[in-house]
């Protein structure tokens, strides 16, 4: 088995390395990927179409909105899958921790606990800043959502899981996760109902007062990113809460 595995890996690697010699040089501006019409269109029209300087955001939420919508639902599905696999109600039958990992005493409570307590609110504000300024600077729904989730993770590592579960209780995990996906799909559906294509945010100019088609696209992108952030943050915390307690949601690390 070991030999066979090594052999398979070496054959695969040799084939890939053989293919490498036909690649364009690293960073070539005239490589097929960079010369093509698609990146050119995305780069040149992001300001004209949506008034968003960050081409990555426009591509993520507008030009390739379908892709992102289903990626968001994949994250949601992963959360549901972990619930189905791991969650137990009532105690675990044979629960024991390896001794080497048991944390004794609480000598780190004051320093680590207080520091992270003071840091939670700025971290969450930073996450919302990243979410709201994804149009102008790096960032967006995925990054903002992960950082909000990480602030809850920090709270459960530095204090305890119960404290973050009182802020984001278990029955909210999947409500919020589904809400995010529904916000995304709902904005798409709204465009459909207003007579445009699915996820064609230009339609939103009929419901948002005083905006042109470009700003309607910009606001549509923001709405979609908010949906992504809600799903990602709640599912990240749901995954951690299940993993760190073996599905019991009681004590945590």
């Amino acid at each position: 088995m070991r030999f066979l595995g090594l052999f398979a890996v070496l054959v695969t690697g040799a084939l890939l390395l053989y293919g490498v010699k036909d690649f364009p040089h690293y960073g070539a501006a005239d490589s097929p990927a960079n010369e093509g019409v698609v990146p050119r269109y995305y780069m040149e029209n992001t300001m004209k179409d949506a008034r968003v300087p960050n081409a990555v955001t426009t591509t993520l939420a507008d030009y390739r909105g379908y892709d992102t919508m289903f990626e968001t639902s994949v994250v949601f599905t992963a959360g549901v899958a972990i619930f189905a696999i791991l969650r137990v109600f009532g105690g675990d039958r044979n629960r024991h921790h390896p001794d080497s990992l048991r944390i004794r005493g609480d000598q780190f409570r004051i320093i680590v606990g207080t520091t992270s307590r003071l840091l939670i609110a700025p971290i969450q504000l930073f996450a919302l800043y990243v979410l709201a300024h994804g149009h102008h600077s790096p960032g967006g729904g995925f990054q903002g959502g992960v950082i909000i989730g990480a602030s809850f993770l920090l709270l459960s590592v530095a204090r305890n899981l119960g404290e973050s579960l009182t802020r984001l209780p278990e029955h909210r995990f999947f409500t919020l996760g589904a809400t995010g996906v529904l916000i995304y799909a709902g904005i798409g559906l709204l465009c459909l109902l207003l007579g445009h294509h699915f996820l064609d945010y230009r339609a939103l100019q009929h419901v948002l007062p005083g905006v042109g088609p470009e700003m309607a696209r910009s606001h549509g992108i923001l709405g979609v990113e908010i949906g992504v952030a809600i799903t990602v943050s709640s599912i990240m915390f749901a995954i951690y809460a299940n993993l760190s307690t073996r599905g019991e949601l009681k004590k945590g690390l």
């Binding site: 005493g105 000598q107 780190f108 004051i110 320093i111 606990g113 207080t114 520091t115 307590r117 003071l118 939670i120 609110a121 700025p122 969450q124 504000l125 930073f126 919302l128 800043y129 709201a132 300024h133 102008h136 602030s151 709270l155 802020r167």
Partner: protein, 167 residues
């Protein structure tokens, strides 16, 4: 309520520093974000129940303390610089153990982090009232004579320094 207002103001100042956009759209996004964060976790920023007036006074004194701390950091940097260029015999790492009179978690946290941020000394752990501090030389250990603790106790009115060096 006053706490929420205070944390909202602080968070909004932080937002303005981060954002750099002052058009109505981004400002309203900032207001919504700060309101959300205040709603989620303002109770984590200020846990105690000190009256607001006193809190502002403490904040003022804390600013003064931080200036003093900055000066201490400069001094101990110079000490460490001399130590690293001079005779290596003076480097004698040791763990100093002392008992503090500070009661609240925040005061202990402030003392521990002030000790750590000053070059040459590191708070290893806190067990109850007992601090375990690693110091790099005799002079750095002598710096832990309680001056810092008295200043921290002076910030918070209900704290009293009381210490007896043990080893």
């Amino acid at each position: 309520m006053a706490y929420r207002l205070l944390s909202f103001t602080l968070l909004f100042a932080f937002w303005l520093i981060l954002s750099g956009f002052f058009d109505p759209f981004h400002l309203s996004l900032g207001l919504v974000s700060c309101a959300l964060v205040t709603w989620w976790s303002s109770d984590l920023m200020f846990e105690s129940t000190t009256p607001t007036k006193r809190l502002v006074r403490q904040g003022w004194r804390l600013a003064g303390y931080l200036c003093w701390l900055l000066w201490q950091i400069v001094l101990s940097n110079i000490h460490l610089f001399k130590l690293s260029l001079g005779d290596l015999k003076e480097v004698s790492p040791r763990v100093v153990k002392f008992r503090t009179g500070l009661k609240s978690d925040f005061a202990k946290f402030l003392l521990a982090n002030s000790i750590t941020i000053t070059p040459g000394t590191i708070t290893v752990k806190i067990l109850g009232d007992v601090f375990y501090v690693h110091a790099i030389s005799a002079e750095a250990a002598a710096g832990l004579d309680g001056g810092m603790e008295r200043r921290i106790a002076a910030i918070f009115e209900d704290e009293h320094p009381a210490r007896e060096a043990e080893a």
